[in-house]
Symmetry: C2
Subunit: 171 residues, 2 copies
Amino acid sequence: MTKQAIMTQIYLIRHGIAVERNEDIKDETRPLTDKGRQKTTEIGQKLGEMGVKFDIILSSPLVRAWETAEILQKAKLSEKISEFAPLAPGGSLQAWVNWWLNSCYNKDEHSLALVGHQPDLGEWAELLIWGSSRDKITVKKAGIIGLTLPQTVTPIGQGELFLLTSPKWLL
Amino acid sequence: MTKQAIMTQIYLIRHGIAVERNEDIKDETRPLTDKGRQKTTEIGQKLGEMGVKFDIILSSPLVRAWETAEILQKAKLSEKISEFAPLAPGGSLQAWVNWWLNSCYNKDEHSLALVGHQPDLGEWAELLIWGSSRDKITVKKAGIIGLTLPQTVTPIGQGELFLLTSPKWLL
């Protein structure tokens, strides 16, 4: 395989259903609901049955995302899991690009899960694929955006979309 | 519901697996293979189980697309089915927009299936969603692109993507 043919598969996964915002809990610490855990577990099982594997799961540090990431790891989709602050709401895609260039560029890690939030995940996907964001990709809770990135030091606008799905369509 | 809230759901569906191009058959008349019929039938059943209904299925007149459309109709996804020449390869999205304005604008038809070909379906989706096409959406055979369009006389660039899936991910 030539270097040009190496693609990174990136699965942008939104956290599962979490408890509603309320005055008694900080947004950052809202956990998944029982239904959120259940659906996310089913998504993890389905991905496992399909043979999906990640070299690493990067997760927003917010509790609802981190719990989602842990469920995916428990489904044996990845050995590695790591908090990644730029995946928090309003985080920086460029920070992730820098991580990707350091961690994946010309290396053997070619399947990544990024667990985070809306509208950020849709915006990141649009930026990676089309180079600009217009809030045109809606990913549901525990839903997945799948895109491929070629080996390039300037990945913005170079991606291709291969998947946009949700528990309704996947389970 | 206000008029502004009325959305058309559009499912761009690629034909199933067809017999390979060869000298003995015109491209226009290539039929689905047995495997293509089987996968397309399973997709139709799955959509039926999910409660998906189309007000009409429009199909490219090419045999592999028309056979796909007929299979979807036999799965009871739509009462109406119609050949639509602009869905043939290289066809005009503007011709479809004109049809949509005549047939759907401010009317009660809000769920459409368009059966056709690549790269056209991906290009149509990009044009409807982002207003320009860069070949960034890959839809597999018997795969589906789902987008919503608001009620507008200028739908180009106004759509939102809610689904991109394939038999691998849907079945």
